[in-house]
Symmetry: C2
Subunit: 441 residues, 2 copies
């Protein structure tokens, strides 16, 4: 959060903010970005196997959360999830064989973000797994995310075994098809409609989705009428007990909105915040698909009883995509009930939230925070402001045990690393100075 930026970065930030040769182009580009983001209308349309959604995804492809990373650089947690997923998908019969093939590059590993998707924590996606498909009906983009596995031993925390596989199999055979059938009957569920209401109902829409999940179920009711039988009953029971279920819908909702601004030249607005347990990476609109990375930070927060910092994995997962749209750590004042969970107090949460207004380009006209007198959520993180204020975005996150399968050990704030923003700023500066339009002016 408060993380000093270098004098050289400060100078570049100053230049790109106050020198009209740069600032005019950046402001114009940012206006385009903000206008698109404000008109975003992501709609949850389908639940389909990943191979039906991700172009060219073969059975030997496995997708993972976070920026792209080589097998040898991955943390144990992500490796464990990948090995388990490879066995689950039937690509390899054993974890040992899976490890061998993964290490030798026989299995194609891709970052979700590189193919239009997101996955929380050490989330991995194989061809047969059902994913939420969200379409932005105004912006024309699509994004996907696997379905939340709920509580207990789960793949996204690197767990392996019958409990994990049975649930994943049920999700593919029952939950996914049931949800897809019901969703098609609704014609689609607008994601931001739910999130803007949830902000008034105690969710910050990253770590807390109690309202979002309940509103999602409410939206499904008309389509659930007329459905009967154990499969739909199981599906409803599973969603009902999984307070965080809506996270995996919110994430691709935001992702497909930000995909619409991934290639707006000259813009200084952040489009991706992501981490893989080893590296933290960001992207900006003006620099397209280039990643700017630093070591993944540890999460500061509250550990569950019996756990401490020594058990924690560095930050992992794509869920902080929500922060790029002004949710999560940028809307903490909306969720006082979350504060105790992550170890803080409501006044501190409000203060952090207010600090975020200093590093963004706008306040959202429709997403508002009642306890801040209905102020719009801060959104459109501007790398110039991050560097010049010396304040990086705060994101919310669950803390994963570094030992695969042990699960969540706490929750807290991620103070995203300043180095990523400095690198992004330098790259933006370079593209601007290399462009003849700037040199000739």
């Amino acid at each position: 959060m408060h993380l000093a930026s270098s004098a050289e970065s400060q100078r570049v930030a100053e230049l790109l903010t106050n020198d009209a040769r740069f600032s005019a182009r950046i402001e114009a580009a940012n206006e385009t970005v903000l206008a698109r983001l404000q008109s975003a209308d992501p709609v949850l349309k389908r639940v389909l196997p990943a191979s039906d959604v991700v172009p060219g995804m073969s059975r030997e492809t496995v997708l993972h959360s976070g920026p792209p990373i080589a097998w040898e650089d991955m943390c144990d947690l992500l490796r464990a999830s990948l090995k388990a997923a490879v066995v689950f998908e039937g690509i390899c019969p054993t974890l040992e064989e899976a490890e061998r093939q993964l290490a030798q590059g026989q299995i194609s590993l891709r970052s979700c973000h590189e193919v239009g998707g997101v996955a929380p924590l050490a989330g991995v996606v194989t061809a047969s797994m059902p994913v939420f498909l969200v379409e932005d009906v105004n912006l024309g983009t699509q994004a996907f995310c696997p379905i939340n596995e709920g509580l207990g031993k789960v793949l996204r925390y690197g767990a392996y075994g019958p409990e994990v596989f049975n649930r994943l199999r049920w999700m593919g055979e029952v939950l996914g098809p049931v949800l897809d059938k019901v969703l098609r009957k609704t014609g689609g569920i607008p994601v931001f409609g739910i999130m803007s209401h949830a902000l008034h109902m105690g969710d910050e829409c990253h770590n807390r989705h109690k309202a979002g999940t309940t509103l999602f179920l409410k939206a499904l009711i008309p389509a659930l009428l007329g459905e009967a039988g154990p499969e739909v009953e199981q599906a409803v029971a599973f969603i009902s007990k999984t307070d965080v279920f809506f996270l995996n819908i919110a994430m691709p909702g935001v992702k497909c909105s930000t995909m619409a601004v991934e290639h707006v030249a000259d813009s200084s607005i952040v489009t991706v915040l992501s981490q893989n347990g080893t590296r933290f990476g960001i992207r900006t609109a003006g620099t397209g698909k280039t990643w700017f990375e630093a070591d993944a930070p540890f999460i500061k927060g509250k550990f569950f009883s019996g756990f401490d910092q020594s058990h924690a994995n560095p930050g992992i997962g794509d869920s902080l995509i929500t922060e790029t749209m002004g949710f999560g750590g940028l809307a903490m004042a909306a969720a006082p009930a979350l504060v105790r969970y992550i170890g803080g107090d409501p006044a501190e949460a409000k203060r952090l939230n207010e600090l975020m207004y200093g590093i963004v380009a706008a306040e959202h006209p429709k997403h508002t925070i009642p306890s801040l007198n209905f102020r719009g959520t801060p959104f459109g993180i501007d790398v110039r402001k991050v560097v010049s204020c010396g304040v990086t975005p705060v994101a919310n996150a669950g803390i994963a045990h570094r030992v695969p399968g042990e699960g969540q050990v706490g929750a807290g704030y991620i103070h995203t690393p300043m180095r990523c923003f400095e690198k992004a700023l330098a790259a933006l500066h370079k593209t601007l100075t290399e462009d003849p339009a700037t040199q000739s002016s």
Copy 2:
């Protein structure tokens, strides 16, 4: 709220607080009251015609909100609702005939509270109208409330005509039976379970029920599966669009809990807050069914565009029963999104909320307010403290147009009248001094 109490009342409050002859008995009684209220577990069980629920309710009986009141003392709003209800029920063919019979006492008028029920605003209940039946499964009490009519022209604002009657007819023929069938399948919905979650989701559980209504629908889903057809579709659509639907379930939930302490001798805890548009009345546990009244106050708040104080009816309705259990005005800090609606700011709401801790006997162990660091809601309003602090309970309320049928014109706070609490205190003092146990000590 801040309303000076007389020197004599202050003296009595001081006596009943500090003189052990009185205070020991009062404290012991209050402990009984608080223990019962804390163990309350109201469960919504059925939806049945009022005549099946209210003992001895004939077709010629009409129930109304607020303390008992004679026809000639009623405000136009309540009279209009009663006349319309009499015609709706088929007791009289015209409003004129209804007025004649009501004025001449040919129709039995009863206060809901006198027969174990509650009704919001100028709410009236006739024999055929479906009512929610809530049972406290720990305390053994029952209470009822009519179903919320939703938006538009409605009987509870004194409206009359085809729109009102068609809806009421549909509620009796479709909504009530559908809800009853579904509720029986669930086995009952615990009311406070929903309300304690709703407090963490932006509801204060009197004026705002967006979370409560959504959680209620969520709780119905398992029982809705397998149901189909236009009737259940209509019922779900009606509830889904009526954010305040859960109010009429919360009210009898609180009412049946407080009914379990209606006759705890010596207790200074308030059991009823209620108003009929003419008079405001309270009851306490120690004084049983006796009403202590003053003129019904006007509501201070925010008027909808085009309306002002000159359009307002004095406060009317039983909905502030929720305040007796620590909801509504006693939990304002839980509902920042409500604050703008009633014309205030979040800081003021928090301050008012904190003030309420001074006039209650306890903080609820299970109903908590996240933004107050999970402090328990203030509950168990103690008439001694109200008088000695010079602070009366703040209640939330909708402002009704004084002209029947015009509907809601705003929303705000009721500063409940001090005179009621002074009278209740004096009566409690009298019962204590008349009792030989006190005189002999």
